[in-house]
Structure formats: C-alpha cells, structure tokens
Symmetry: C2
Subunit: 450 residues, 2 copies
Amino acid sequence: MNPKILVIGGLAAGPAAAAKAKRTNSEAEVTLFEQGEHVSYGICEIPYFIGGVTPNKSDIEPFSAQKLEQTRGFKVKTLHRVEKLDSTKRLVVVRDLWKDKLHEFKYTKLVLATGSSPRRLGIAGENARNLFFINKLDEAYALKKFIDEEQPKRAVVVGGGYIGLEMVDTLVSLGLKTTLVHRSAFPLSSLEDSARKFVLSQLTKNGVQFEPNQTVLQFVVDASGKISKVVTNRSSFETGLVIVCIGVAPNTELACHAKLRLGTHTGVLTDQHQKTSNDAIYAAGDCCELKNSVNNKWMYLPLATYAARQGVVAGMNAAGGRAAFKGAIRAVAVKVFDGEVAHVGLSLKEALESGFSADTDEISSSTKISFYPGSSPLSIRLIFEKRSHRLLGANVWGGSGSVARANVLSSAIQHKLTLEQVAELDLIYAPQFSPLWDPILTAAKQARKQ
Amino acid sequence: MNPKILVIGGLAAGPAAAAKAKRTNSEAEVTLFEQGEHVSYGICEIPYFIGGVTPNKSDIEPFSAQKLEQTRGFKVKTLHRVEKLDSTKRLVVVRDLWKDKLHEFKYTKLVLATGSSPRRLGIAGENARNLFFINKLDEAYALKKFIDEEQPKRAVVVGGGYIGLEMVDTLVSLGLKTTLVHRSAFPLSSLEDSARKFVLSQLTKNGVQFEPNQTVLQFVVDASGKISKVVTNRSSFETGLVIVCIGVAPNTELACHAKLRLGTHTGVLTDQHQKTSNDAIYAAGDCCELKNSVNNKWMYLPLATYAARQGVVAGMNAAGGRAAFKGAIRAVAVKVFDGEVAHVGLSLKEALESGFSADTDEISSSTKISFYPGSSPLSIRLIFEKRSHRLLGANVWGGSGSVARANVLSSAIQHKLTLEQVAELDLIYAPQFSPLWDPILTAAKQARKQ
C-alpha cells in the first residue's frame, strides 16, 4: 500500500514539506491540512501590503490551494482543523470547519508544521476591534480595511522587535503619528548597544515617539469598542490603533497530544532530519526550536527561510529520503526608514553565556567611497573568540549596503573563519561599491589587533 | 648600523610597503622614490573626478609627500627617478629631476613598486594632444582641462575593458556622443557571454555606439595637432577626443637590471612573501604577477587592493617581519550606467584550460522581492567542478545589489565551498533585501542538480 503522509499547517514549512514529499516519492498520498482559508502566503510581506508598497493581493498570496494541488500534486484541505493527534493509532481527527464535521485520517508519516501564535499581553481590552496582531493574512486584511475605512490619526505599536519596527515604518509611511512602547531602553534587544542606538536615532529622526522601559498595564476601551488610550507603567497615550508585536510562541498542542519532546523555548525538538522524539512524526517551521550552529544550543527563531528549509528536509525524510537541516547561525535584518541593521551569529552576551571567551570591536566606515553619490555611514561590530580569533557574530548598521555585507559575515561565521581569514577575503573594490578597504576588511583588521 | 630600506614607486604598493616597513622596524631608514610629482593618489577614482562626481582634488590626492613623511615616518623623494639598479653592489642610481643631478643610494633591502604603463597601439598620431591614457594623475588633470576648455562633442574610447567602460560612462555623463571600439564581439572579454551581452545592452540603451571586432589602424591628425578621425579595419569615426584603454603592462626595466625572474605575463615573479628571485629585493603591485589561488597559476591583474596588500607584505618582510600574500581569486566589478557586473574566480574557459572538468549554469532572479520598489533583475552564472561541485567562479550582473552578492560568492570560492554548501549559506531574507531565496541560493540549488 502507498504510504500516507499527512502535513499539518499550510503556511511556509507545510507546503514545502508536502511538495518535497511528493517529489521524493510520487506514489505517496500526501495531504495537507490548513485550518485557515489561505495557504502558502507571504507573511513577511504583510507590512508592505498594509503600507501599500504592493497593493496586489497576488503578491502575497501567490498560491491558492487549487494551484498548489495542480502544480505540486498533493491534496490541500483548507478550513480543516486538526483537533486530535493519536500517535499510537497513527491517526488524526480533523474538523471540516466548512461543514462542521469530524473525520479521521490515518498516516504512515506525519509532518507537524503548526506554526506559531502571537504572544498576548493578557490584559483586558486585547480583543478590541482596533487592536491587531500581525501574524495571519486575515488579520492583515482586517488591519488594512480598518486603516482605509476609519483613518486613525495615531497609532501605538507595542514591542520594538523586528516586526514592530517594520510596522512602525509602515504606519509612519501612511501618515500616522506613531508611538512605539518597548520594554527596554532601546529597540531590538538582541543587538549590541551601538546598533540599538542607531535604530533609536532612525526612529527619532523620522518622528516616531519611542517610549522605553515600559509595560502596558491597561487599555482604555471607549463606547464604540475601540481602545482610545494605552496606559503603561510610566505614562499613557491616546490612540486610534494598537498593534501588538511582542513575539510569537510555537503552537504545540498537537505535539503535546503525541507527547513529543519539547525544548526550553517550548518548541518541538527534532534531530537534524527534522524527526521528533516519535519515529513517525516530523516537525518543521515555527513550531520547532532550531540548533544554533555557532554555539550548538537550541534557539527559537521563527523565520520563513528556516521554516522552508526545515519543511523540505522534513518532507523528504517523511517520504523515505535522507536530508538534513544543519542548523542556523541566525541571520536577520530590518530596514528602519532609510537605515539598515543586520544581526548575524551570536551576540556578545550569548557568546559569553555559551562559554566562549569572547570580545568585541567596532569600526565606522562608509558604504561606498565617501565622495561617491549615495555613500552613507556604515558601522560593523564584530564578536569573536579572544584566543582563536574565530568570528562568532556581527552587527552591521547604516545605509543601503549594510545588510549585503552582513551576508558575507554570515557566511564567514557559518564556515568558522577567523578574523585573519576575514581580513584576507578577496572583496571587490571600485568607488561605486565600497571604500578601498571594504568595511568588512577594516573591521576584521582592527579587531585582530586586540 | 640601521637597515636601509629603499622603496621605488609612490602610488599604491610603494607607500603601503614603506609605511609597513617603518612600523615593523622603527630603526630602519626607509626612503621612497617617486618619479612623478604626486604620491599615493587614487587612480581608481580618476573617472569620477573627470566626470565631476567629485570636483575635489583632495578626494583623489589624500596624501601629499609631506603628509606621508609626517604621518608615516619615512622619507619621500618625489621627482626622483631611479635609473639604475645594481643588485650586486646593492645600490640604485637616482636622478633628481628637479635639479637634474644623479645620486647613489645603498640599500639593505629594496622594494620594487614600479607599477605599470598603459599599452599603446603603436601607430602614428598616438601622441596627439586630444588622445589620453588613463593611468596617471597628471594625465587625468590634462584630460579634465582639455574637456573643460575645448568642449569636444564626440569621443572615441578604444578598448572595452573595465577602465574603458568606466570612461564611456563618464563621457556620456558629460554629454559627449561616445563610440566604443573593441577588438571582440562584446565588451569585457573575460566574462561569460550572457554577462557580456548584458553589458552591451547597457551601452546601447544609454546611446553608446559600440563598434565590435575592430582594430584601430590610423589616427587622422588635423592641422591643430588633434585627432579628427579614428580609422579602424571596418569603419572610421569623426571625433574630438580619443581615450585609449587597452590594458597596462608591468614596468620591469629595473627588475631586468637586477636580472629578476619574470613570468609569462612579463611581470616580476615573487614568492608568498613578495620576495623576488634576489634575496634582497621584494616587489609588489602592478609590476608583479600574482598567484590565482583557485587554479594556482600566475595571472596579471593590476588592481589597487592587491597592490596595497602586496605592499604591506613586502614592506613588513623587507623590515625583518614575516607576512604572506596568499594570492587572489580575482574579484572585479564595474558599474555600467545603472547596471552592475562582477566577475569572481575563474571563467569557464580558464577553468577548462586549468584542467578542471568544469560546467556552468545560470539563473535569473531579482535584487529584492519583485514587488519591492527598486527591485531589478539580477542574473548569476556559476562555474563549478562537475564531480566535486566545488565552486570555481561566478559572474553576477543586473541592478544595484549584484556586486554585493558577488562578494559572498568570492568568499565561497576562496574557501573552496561546494554548490551544496553555497545552497546552505545562512543569508538574510526580508523583502527589502532579497527574494525569499536569495539569488545566490537559487543559483547554487539549480546548479547542483546538473
């Protein structure tokens, strides 16, 4: 009998797993369940849809369920919520939300790609109709509709992480007076201080009211059911719109049904083959933790690229192939108005906590030769091991071209290069592209003298 | 007695060598001779000075002789031409061009950084006052003065290499109707055909008349001493200005005095420590050949970054230190109007000639996610070894962001990564910076299927 592969979750990891499973074994019966209406959409692109950078839904919803079925050859069941996982009988119980009926499906192998849910503040008013979480397409469409129709003048964004900053940028571009409430002194808690100060300066320069060291205590909801005021431990802010971006947590309800091993970040743990503690169950994407390949520790880093890579690996292995996801070093970046900031590898704090005898050093340079039009300041802070000079992490920030350099450093960290090796990288020079010594080389040359 | 270190040549490698020698051994008496008036200027920046991108001479002449002496601690003798090198007696004969007097200087160690000279066509009219070579600061100042004062309407550039293309871009930006005469069918002979076609399309789109497969046979010089017509084997072109950029050749006259070993490209050969075949003589920069670290063959690639790196190594070793220049993989790029094109590592032809069983594969993608403002097409062609999948070379071309990607590939080639390893690089994704799969990953993933 042909193997039955079930995939639960239709956003990034799920469709990647289902497609790869079908490609690996065309005899396999592959079925994907998605509780929502949409599949395989671009969650990362949502801020740009809301901001009107692209007005086309087709840009963020490139695949309908039908198109996935036709081009990838697996079955897609949207509006189907998997409510129970019985790993002993190898079956799932699925509610068809359209007909409100329960069905059982047996599996040979199962891929959990159940994703994540936004963390909530857990205070009254969080369900007000002018409060949004940016984690689902329906939520994005609702937010866009709300802004178009009700034209709020002010917004409060809670949480200065990557998504929070993208939303702040978007709201300012739409003309809203925007306040960013953040729990610590500077945005982006995992960056080094000087990079965080740069981000803060980008916010201030562009008229954003940054409110540091604050926790939201209360939402004041008016008669129309909308939050009119956000009260924190230090102040209060009138508003017409609230966006909460305080991170996401892995969805592990089904994983718990099967008693899968979870990690300290509450995500599913897998081996390199994306296999969970149950031999018949694989997991991929935001519901999983992943191995940081610099310090070999588990981390929780729900990014689309990792989800897709894990999905491919899970799908291939579920269908009898053999693939491995070797972990991630962390490579993230955000554009804050005209500034870019990127973080690759470990922070100094993480490096020290992981037992590295780590040090750090910073340089200031420019994206191109300084007289060239469009040249702008660029800074690099390297984190490295003192004795071996192995590069462990880097922050890069400044004008356009900062993130591209972080990719060179990311590759260097991934392949365990030393500062000496980074200083000898054969990088291109021409005035239009960099100073004579690319800032990467300058940073490595300076740091190795320490 | 303190060691006497003499450095011959004051552009890129020479000052780097002299400065490093002094830093390595502060007791050493270090003297640099330069036959021209200027030292340590930015030869690569000349097209942008001529084009008015920067009108400031200080941007291309950051160091006067005096400033070098004061900040770096070595003696600088400009307008001093070394006319004889006696390696047996360890002395050089130097003409003070100012006073027209000869002096002898003895050395403990000598660093040759005599640079290169433009190749000439070797036909009559090549000394006409409206014909320029772009290789010296004085020549650049003369060209700028000529353009400002005589306002030519038309220009012919001979040679479609990197400098030729930069000059074409510059002349068009100044409003000159520009013809590019090139010996083969497409510009940039070392690139793969599809990249060369892209460059040609950039030229055509911007109104440049590209004349392929042509050799200049004759310059018609008018009564005022200016070339009025350029005659090739296929056509002739009226002009008010001629720029000849058909490459440069190493200056090795002094090397020949000392009977130093030269290579097949007529440059000085050195070991990793930049030592020549004479134990007391080091060489660095455009007068040298350098080792291509991908195929371990000698090549001639006179670029400022390599010159400076070799200079540092030569200077350190001449002063008793121990440093090595481990060769180059070749990393070059040029901006042609709004297009970028980069070449890193070997071409397919070089790879095959070096004995690699090589193959090549190409992808088309975009610099950012396609809907994002400023996103433009980007193509990558990879050259790799068939069996091992080791990456050997790459061409990257398209809009802004192409060259930055070439730097990631350059680093991958330098560290001998395979296509599988490149496909697993942890590169940043966000819509502002790349498609979900960075074109680098897409290229490697597609090529490994071959």
